[in-house]
Structures are given as structure tokens and as C-alpha cells.
Symmetry: C2
Subunit: 307 residues, 2 copies
């Protein structure tokens, strides 16, 4: 349904080259997590989820816009194994086609049925400004050495988790859920999103190299601030590389640093806590288990994933 919706987007005729990078981004794959969450949430409250498809596609368009501009800001060479837009074309093309994606996303969101257009638009707007705030904090953190765990969690909450919450809340509203239930689903998504991001930090050290998709220890080598590093540094200064040390040795030393300082255990505990918070939200919905099975499976899959 989502792929069909993406395929059926009507691009304006004038200046067709503006939309080549847009199509390139959307063809880059990805798991379509956000639009799937929109449809899953709508489906909790209605059997006919057709009304949710175009807004779901709009959210996926928006997500891809944020990836496109983030790649420019991060000077990232690759995304999903393909050259990024600013390298394949150039930076101006990446900026402008990103802006066009944002406008196209809003055109799709504007097709939300009138009974909930205002509510869905408000959720979407709130999400969009928060994502920009998250990206701002992320950039500020790069040059700061005193980032606290609370600040870090706030940053990942804004940068990545709120969109999972927004996806579920939009779907719920389109499915005519009560405001209370829509908000509970938002909280579920946000907590799950934080757990997901923390799990990502953990997997960078202890994921399965066969399936993780990224190099194990990548965050360590590029000196990235993660939950593990912030927590460990609050206990003990971080180690320095020594003469003759290989990259593998350096990664191994850091993993031991994270274990010895308790950062590894603390990270796993935090993941569990956020998953538990998410599950507690589902319980508050007071819905039959079989209705919630997909969302519960999602939470459980996340807690046990190793890649």
C-alpha cells in the first residue's frame, strides 16, 4: 500500500529535474517504518485504512527530506549503500530538492480527510520543528565535552523518537481514536524510539557483525558521543590509544572501558526501561491482545534484536 502510494505521487511538470533527486531518495529503500506505523495505528481503530495511506506517504516523504538535508550537513558520502544526493549532483541540488520534498510532503498531508486535517497537521508541524531542534542539539553536541545523559536522551528523543510517536498519533487520529488513546500511542512510539536509538548505540559495540550492516565499533572510531561514552566518562576518563595499537585493539579497549565502568550494563538497563515504558502504554489502551499483537511484537523484536 505504501509503495503503491509512493509510486502514485504526482510530480509537477515544470522543472522536472527538481524531482530527480526526490525520486532517487525515495527509491533508496529503507524499511518504511514510519508510514507502516501510521497504518498500524489507524488499523487499531478502523478496518478501512485507506484514508491513512496518503498522509503516511507524506510522512515518509518528510522523513526522507530530513535524511537528505542531514546528509548535506554531515557531509555523508553514502546512504543505504548509494551515493548521497549532494555528491551525485551537488550541494545546491541537495538543498533545493530537499526543500521541494518538504513542500511535497505537506501537499500529501493536506490530503488528510477534512474531519481530522487540522489535528494531523498540528501533529505533523510539531514533529517537524522538534526534528530540527534535535538536529540542532546534535550539531551543538559535537563541539561540547560536557553533554549529560539527560541532554543526550533529549536530543535523540527530538531527533528520531518523536517521529515514531507522531506516526502512530497521526494514524490513530485518522482512525478516529479518542485524543487520550492517540496520545498513549504517541508515548508508546516515543519510548520505543528512544529504546531503539539506545539499542543502536549498544549494537555498535556488541551487534552481530554479519547482520548489523555497519562496521562494529564505527561510533568508537569516529569519536561519536553515545549513551555508552557519556555514561562511561562520568565514571572514569576515557582511554587513549597507545603506540602500535590496531583499530581492532582500540575498539576492544573501549568495549572493556564500557563494561568496567558499568556503562554497558546501564545502557542495557535503560533500553529495558524504555521498552517497559512503551509496553505499559499499550496496556493503558485497554484493547484485546490480538489487536495489539503487531505493536507488541515490534517492541519485543526491538529488545531482542542483535543487528
Amino acid at each position: 500500500m505504501i509503495q503503491k502510494g509512493l509510486d502514485e505521487i504526482e510530480y509537477p511538470n515544470l522543472a522536472p529535474r527538481l524531482f530527480d533527486p526526490v525520486k532517487y531518495m525515495l527509491a533508496g529503500g529503507g524499511k518504511r517504518v514510519r508510514p507502516t506505523l501510521v497504518l498500524m495505528a489507524a488499523n487499531l481503530f478502523t478496518d478501512d485504512i485507506q484514508d491513512a495511506v496518503i498522509p503516511a506517504v507524506g510522512l515518509e516523504m518528510y522523513h526522507n527530506f530530513t535524511l537528505l538535508h542531514d546528509d548535506v550537513m554531515d557531509k555523508a558520502p553514502e546512504r543505504h549503500g548509494r551515493e548521497t544526493v549532494h555528491l551525485r549532483w551537488n550541494e545546491n541540488v541537495a538543498i533545493l530538492s530537499g526543500d521541494a520534498m518538504q513542500a511535497l510532503a505537506y501537499q500529501l498531508i493536506a490530503k488528510t480527510p477534512s474531519y481530522c486535517l487540522k489535528e494531523v497537521l498540528d501533529i505533523f508541524n510539531q514533529n517537524n520543528i522538534e526534528i530540527d531542534q534535535g538536529q540542532q542539539l546534535d550539531m551543538e553536541f559535537e563541539t561540547r565535552d560536557d553533554v549529560t545523559l539527560d541532554e543526550y536522551i533529549e536530543m535523540i528523543r527530538l531527533k528520531t523518537s518523536v517521529m515514531l510517536g507522531a506516526a502512530l498519533k497521526m494514524g490513530a487520529i485518522i482512525g478516529k481514536a479518542t485524543p487520550e488513546r492517540a496520545q498513549i500511542l504517541y508515548d508508546f512510539g516515543m519510548n520505543l524510539g528512544v529504546a531503539f536509538q539506545l539499542q543502536d548505540d549498544w549494537l555498535d559495540c556488541w551487534g552481530n557483525p554479519e547482520t548489523f550492516g555497519k562496521r562494529i565499533g564505527g561510533d568508537i572510531l569516529c569519536n561519536k558521543k553515545t549513551y555508552l561514552r557519556i555514561k562511561a566518562e562520568s565514571k572514569l576518563s576515557r582511554p587513549e590509544s597507545y603506540r602500535g595499537q590496531t583499530e581492532e585493539d582500540y575498539i576492544e579497549m573501549y568495549k572493556n572501558y564500557y563494561i568496567l565502568t558499568g556503562a554497558e550494563a546501564s545502557c542495557r538497563k535503560a533500553i529495558s526501561e524504555y521498552v517497559n515504558k512503551a509496553n505499559a502504554c499499550l496496556d493503558q489502551l485497554n484493547m484485546p491482545d490480538e489487536k495489539l499483537s503487531l505493536l507488541k511484537a515490534l517492541a519485543s523484536k526491538l529488545e531482542n534484536r542483535n543487528a
Copy 2:
């Protein structure tokens, strides 16, 4: 009213530095033409234009977002006599705060009263994607030597004129005009916008240097494609500078080239035609002259401006 609306924008608390460049852009001045048009159009149909203020401010926010990202793409050093955001901060800040301005603009537009939210949002969305298309064509034209006059007019229509039309149409819809009258005002604004841009091309050569604000001949010196140049080149190859020629001589030679090829006369004729088209739209409104006096004055001021 507009300045008050701009002053009362509520910025989110988290990541406050994200909004510093936004405030800087909005404090940069400008004539607030677009929000003024929103209010003028609303006022044609209603005495209480309060409902139009926040959407008008949203449009001004959006306009400033396009200026901010255009400045990045054009590597412009100055805007309204002040350093551009990408120089005062850096390029990433300019990209991200521009994205935030787009999101903030939509938050303001979402406050349009519910009786016309969907219509105003559709006009706004259409405008936004067209502006991106115009900027795309403008960038493509830089490396093309076969741009036709029709293509040029289409580009300026998309890049600058549609927003004047959209401003008037939004105001009219908020003022509860009929769809026909709202569309007529759109056409008025679009035609006036094209005339304004062509006048800008003409003033680059023959404007009053005391009041034009930009250096006379600036377009000629930076080799910019304008109506004058495209028209002149369709008659006669453009002149080349000769040994020992000063910049002033070069500009003078180009002005003569434009006169001798009839490009100057053609440009003035085109301006008149677009102003006439605009005025014809006002006549179609069938409204008392005193109601339309402000818009008529605007058209007449434009045709006779020399700076």
C-alpha cells in the same frame, strides 16, 4: 499589525540557538509586501482582518526562508546590507534554520480559521512547490545559452510572482471572497509580480542611482540573464569588452546594445502589458473604485517607479 504578529511569534524553548538566525532574518527588514497583500485582499471583503494576520505572518516567514536558502545557493555575501546567515554563522546553520523557518511558517498557516484552512493550505503548498521550481529553473538557466523569453518569463513567474498572487488569494479566501474573485486577485498579483521583475531588469540599466539601492549595471557586470539580454541576443550577438574599456564604458555599451536592438523598448512594452493585464483583473472584480484604490495605486506606482 504585521510587525506585531512577527514580534509575537512563540519560539520553542529547546535548542534556542536554532532560532537565532530566524530572528536575525526577520529583523533584516524588507518591505513586508507579501503579508501586506494578504491583509489588503482580506480587507476588500471584510472589515475585520484579524483572522488574516497570523497567516500573513506565516507567509512572510516562508518568504524569508526562501531568501535564506537562496542566499546559501547563490553564495550571496549580503542581504539588506547585512551579512548573510551562512557567513555570519555557517552553511549548516543556514540550511537547518531555513528548514526550521519552513516548519514555523506552517505552524502559523495552521492557525488559519477552520472554515478556510484547507483552501489556504492548498494555495500555500502550491505556491511553495512552484517557488522551488522557479529556483530550479533559475539555477539551470545559469549554464544554458539558449534560454528563450518565454522560458525566462515562466521562471520569474514561478520564482517571484506566484507568491504575490498567493498572498492576495489567501487574504481573499480568509475574507470569504468567492473562489472566482479570489482567483482574479491571484491573477492580478501574478501579473503585477511579472511586471515588477521586468521593471527590476530595466531599472538595473536606467534606474535612479541615488535611490535604486543596487549598483546600476550590476546585472550586466555579473553577466546575468535578464529580459533585456535575452531579447537583445535574439537580434544580435552580444558585444565583447575591448582593451582599456572601463566598467562604466562596458555598462554604457550594453545599454546602447539594448536600445539599438529594440530590447529596451520591448521590455517597457512588456511591463506595460503586464500592468494592463493586472489592471484588467481589478476591473473584473466589479467593486467600487474606492475599495480598489490601494491595489490600483500599487500597480500605478510600480509602472512609474524609477528605483
